[in-house]
């Protein structure tokens, strides 16, 4: 008998007796107020993320210093032209020297300050981790109130890869000291910017 069949047979033999129906999930009231942009920003900051305000004439005003100081910028958004073309990357290792990656989020979650990406936004998934810093464009109209609402979205069933980022890479494995930039990005900054049509 194959391991598969042996495992399934053992499970059937040992099925717990009793009736255990799958519960219906109630719709929980969001824990956030009506101003989703403010709620999102507040929670993102508590998770170590940053919020940068766009200015008239310069969407990236809040991260201008970071961009100016970067040697290699990989942009996955039309709002900014970088100097590393993600669409011509053959192997993920090629983005290891990226200083700043700029990507657009599918949506944000106010309850946690999270943003969602799939392979469509990242183009090269690894850039969201190998880059030193991540700049995220988020349309204020794309903020969902809570985690429950997020998991009703289709991306989780249709993307090869879907990931919620909540602030930067972090660790406190040494005596509880919080450190940003454990293995992934050292900072994550969200810029509220509507999508261009």
């Amino acid at each position: 008998m194959s391991a598969r069949d042996a495992i399934l047979a053992e499970i059937r033999r040992n099925r717990p007796s009793g009736d255990f129906p799958l519960p219906e999930l109630p719709l929980f009231a969001p824990l956030v107020g009506d101003d989703l942009v403010a709620e999102f920003g507040e929670r993102l900051k508590r998770m170590g993320g940053r919020v940068a305000e766009p200015q008239a004439g310069d969407i990236f005003a809040g991260v201008r210093e970071r961009l100016d100081g970067a040697k290699v910028i990989a942009s996955a958004v039309p709002e900014l032209t970088g100097n590393r073309d993600l669409r011509s990357i053959r192997y993920p290792q090629e983005v290891e020297d990226v200083d700043v990656a700029v990507v657009r989020a599918v949506f944000g979650i106010a309850e946690t300050g999270s943003v969602l990406f799939t392979e469509d936004q990242l183009i090269v998934n690894a850039v969201a981790y190998l880059a030193q810093h991540l700049v995220v464009l988020l349309d204020p109209a794309d903020i969902l109130p809570n985690v429950q609402a997020a998991y009703r979205r289709r991306e989780f069933g249709h993307s090869a890869y879907a990931v919620l980022h909540t602030g930067p890479s972090a660790t406190a494995d040494i005596e509880g000291v919080l450190i940003h930039g454990a293995q992934g990005v050292r900072s994550l900054t969200v810029v509220m910017q509507p999508k261009t049509a």
């Binding site: 499970i11 109630p26 989780f156 090869a160 660790t171 040494i174």
Partner: protein
Amino acid sequence: MSVEDLNPREREGVIHPEVRARDDESERAQDGTRLQHAEAASKPIRAPQVREPQPRGAKIRGNRPIDQAEAAERFLAAPLHQAAHDERLWDLRKKRDTSAHGIPEWEELRELASQIKTHTLSHLDQYLEQFEAAAKANGVHVHWAKDGADHNRIVLEILKSHGAKTLVKSKSMLTEECGFRHHMDANGIEVIETDLGERIQQLDNEEPSHVVAPAVHKTRMDVAEVFAKTLGTDPDNDDAHYLAESQRETTRPYILQADAGMTGCNFAIAETGSVVTCTNEGNADLSGNVPPLQIHSIGIEKIIPKVEHLGVFIRLLSRSALGSPITQYTSHFRAPRKGTEMHMVLVDNGRSERLGLEEFWTSLKCIRCGACMNTCPVYRRSGGLSYGATYSGPIGLIIDPTFNKRKYSTLPFSSTMNGSCTNVCPVKINIHEQIFAWRKVLVEEHQIPALKQGMMKAAGAVLSRPAAYRAAIGAADSALKVLPRFAVYNPLNTWGKKREMPEAPRQTFHAWYKQNRMKDTGR
């Protein structure tokens, strides 16, 4: 009135003032306020700058019963380690409480999580078949492993067929269970752990001591010593930022050059065939997205039916584990990247058998948050390694004996039976009741040494019958006095050390309830 008003010390919540650090190196938010997300401590905790050798874990002697008490005694004999450990884990427990209390539907979420898990486990064959079909349709190679050895053999074959020699991986308790690293090592495969805590443990040739904070038993000085020896860092520099950065810089080349990447699995979704991982470092995403070959090891009990159920579990997991509303990264791997291969290995390793244990099968609901460890007075005072098993703390007491009844026969006795583990469990496993049930099973099967059996008879006769138990408590005014002093302060009972048992309230809760509530309902 808040808890702080009632008890001003609660504001500080310090158990061990000697480990409160004056300066604070934790990251700050954009507005300058102190951050405490991920597994960060809510206040600076630091073992004093006095070198104290790290107490090591239980001595493993083949199949002989683990002497947890002996290892716990050595942990207690290292007061700086013990104090920092106790303080840090209690801090995580309090962060968990604050986080849980912030959600009005918390208890409802726990009940839902429990029901979803019991439903799935009682239909596990169907959900596994659904998962397999979905994963295959996504272009994923699906494998089934009866036990740990089977898992290791399957992964080795996958690696060999690709000529892979190096593998980077994220933390996985399942692979610890399988002895994966040791097996790969013996077969010429270089395995690199990418989680900081897990890497520290790998370099120190130790098992993880905690399911979410693998090196929580080590001070920064211990880490500095390990890194100085293995990574060539400055032995006199124990700055946490320096140490973490050293690990990042030395791990990155492995990530870039690895032939394969591996992750564990927090949740496997039957309807989509996806594997979900929750990390703070983003190392599962690096392991899954950089190397050309990716492997996900999945314990078969990790299945949940639908994506929407993540809306329950993701809200519970990190809040229970760390008091953080979500981990920094929640990653959903469904299909391979273009031009790469994705393998999923479904591992049984005793789980299907456990399903048939009437009193113990619900331990399979566990989502490995570690909340039961953080709250456990025995665990906090003895360290995870004292259990000498893959799983430590309260959940370990009820899982480990299913792997080896003789070797782990004494573990269910390392509990005060205070029930706190059960109260914090996000999936409502009746942990302390299962601990007690295991004691009975192990005594009946003569797995327990004679001395402990004597203690058991005294306590067991009373504790096993609720009416007699209540009568005994009422008569003695204290549950503790039911047990003879030698049983409470016996050298085998390490949790009785260093603390006198509290005076019990004059009226027991049960008596109060009977007097005040039961009469209202006319019973």
